[in-house]
């Protein structure tokens, strides 16, 4: 899967994701998922040989590779470049699916029915699905670990990040979904505080 003797700094996106050039969409996604888990655990299997900064750099590089290769268009461009036929380096595309605008109340209503003001794990999840976003994609875009996003959607209080982070995560996630960050964070936290979440 890798060109022998090339270190990660010189490896191309396929080598970074440890997949073949013929990898299917599903294979790309699985490899990405596994690699993100490996390089975000911070445990000894990676830190014996890499410094924690290097682990972070690798993790970012994995994101970058995934963004280019999961999108057939940028992948094609990238392949041309690898073959020396492209004329410019490929810029990792921003996720085309993450919303870069605020959704209208109309759209929110369409997604959630009449439930729109109850910001909860369930409604956030519904919004995400309405926008056809995968958790992986949101994780790449927001740089929030998938497990934290999942905890938010499942309102899994036990594995929630510390309160200081949670608020930030909620705001970022809301923004990625085109929602009002302030409103979502406040309503969500009010809801789970009621469910037993300790603020500090």
């Amino acid at each position: 899967m890798v060109t022998q003797l090339k270190s990660w700094r010189e490896q191309d996106y396929y080598e970074i994701l440890e997949i073949s050039h013929k990898a299917t969409e599903e294979e790309i996604r699985v490899a990405y998922d596994k690699l993100k888990t490996i390089y975000s655990s911070g445990s000894s299997e990676t830190t014996i040989l890499f410094t924690s900064e290097e682990v972070k750099e690798i993790s970012d590089k994995v994101d970058e590779a995934y963004r280019v290769l999961r999108d057939p268009r940028s992948q094609r461009e990238y392949d041309l470049m690898l073959r020396g036929e492209g004329d410019k380096p490929v810029i990792p595309p921003p996720s085309p699916t993450v919303t870069h605008r605020i959704l209208t109340p109309q759209e929110i209503k369409e997604a959630l029915g009449d439930d729109e003001t109850h910001w909860s794990g369930e409604t956030l999840c519904a919004m995400r699905k309405y926008l056809s976003l995968e958790l992986d994609e949101v994780a790449v875009e927001t740089k929030i670990a998938k497990k934290n996003l999942k905890a938010i959607e499942e309102e899994d209080i036990k594995i929630f990040p510390a309160p200081v982070y949670l608020k930030g995560f909620l705001r970022t996630y809301a923004k990625a979904l085109g929602l009002d960050p302030q409103e979502v964070a406040e309503k969500y936290i009010a809801r789970i505080t009621w469910k037993g979440y300790q603020k500090d």
């Binding site: 890798v2 003797l5 970074i16 294979e27 490899a31 299997e45």
Partner: protein
């Protein structure tokens, strides 16, 4: 003449020689050698297991057989002409054993010529799979046996010390491989320096070393680079207590790819099971006592991958 050649060609089955190593002691090398041997037999293969642990040989006990009268020792020191004479039946159909040398510390670092002779004789044995238990350590002789077999398997358990040893082992064996490929003394000296993980030159990875070698001898550097494709060590995780620990194999493989630029094949994991300990204590082969255990299933899966020559992709099954 031609006819005979044809006949031979037909009869000739593919032969695989696997060397089992691991930097750390007591992680299950002998256990895996013995039981992987049995698992391959179950698949209809003819298997020979060889105890090449020149320090503490005990493979026979893991197969549940008494100390055989003849061993590798008779070949090494007592003038046995052919290693074949040391073959011992194990009571398991199609599985034969060459027992090891006991407590001969002077032998634990044999001369290069002797090593080659031992390996040559082992390679000439008639079987589908020959599995060689190399014993513990990171000495040059262990590296050499690992390399001569061309198909080295190293074992890792899910503990930081074992992982650390594994990475050191891979590095060591790799550098040793290059050492054996060159006669240029200047190059040898550089490799010698690099063997020390904390060398002042800061040579850590094969590509670092290659760069240094390239400075004194371009041609050798090219030869080193070219000989890479045949080097593909295999990895087994032993004593995994859960799925997460089993998946460590993917992490080790990834780190080796990214750090060393070395392609590694992950063959799978073997679960931890207290019954392994019990069967060893009783002096029985694990497979005979627990043929339908999860551990036995794990080892069977590995046997299949060995036979097929295919490692895992990104999922455990």
């Amino acid at each position: 003449m031609d006819k005979e050649k044809d006949k031979k060609g037909k009869q000739k089955r593919e032969k695989h020689i696997w060397a089992i190593a691991g930097g750390k002691g007591g992680i299950g090398k002998s256990f895996v050698t013995a039981n992987l041997g049995i698992a391959l037999c179950e698949r209809g293969k003819r298997v020979i297991v060889v105890d090449a642990d020149l320090g503490a040989a005990n493979l026979h006990t893991l197969l549940g057989v008494p100390q055989p009268p003849l061993s590798l020792d008779d070949f090494i020191r007592r003038g046995m002409r052919n290693i074949k004479a040391a073959l011992t039946e194990t009571g398991i159909p199609n599985l034969q054993l060459i027992a090891g040398v006991h407590d001969i510390l002077t032998l634990s670092n044999p001369k290069q010529g002797l090593k080659q002779k031992i390996m040559r004789h082992i390679s000439s044995l008639d079987a589908d799979h020959i599995i060689v238990d190399l014993g513990t350590g990171m000495s040059p002789h262990v590296f050499d046996f690992f390399l001569i077999s061309e198909n080295g398997i190293f074992l890792v358990t899910p503990e930081p010390t074992s992982l650390e040893n594994a990475y050191r082992f891979i590095r060591g064996v790799f550098f040793r491989r290059w050492m054996n490929m060159t006669t240029n003394n200047n190059v040898k000296k550089i490799i010698e320096t690099a063997m020390d993980g904390n060398n002042p030159e800061g040579i850590k990875t094969p590509s670092d070393l290659l760069a240094q070698v390239g400075k004194v001898d371009k041609e050798t550097a090219t030869i080193f680079k070219k000989g890479m494709s045949t080097f593909r060590p295999r990895l087994i995780i032993n004593q995994a207590r859960n799925r997460k620990e089993a998946e460590l194999g993917f992490a080790v493989r990834s780190v080796c790819r990214k750090y060393f630029g070395i392609e590694l094949s992950f063959l799978g994991h073997i679960l931890y099971d207290h019954n392994v300990y019990l069967s060893v204590q009783r002096g029985r082969a694990f497979f005979s006592d627990y043929p339908s255990s999860d551990v036995a299933e794990c080892i069977r899966d590995i046997a299949v991958r060995l036979s097929d020559g295919k490692g895992l992709e990104w999922s455990l099954s």
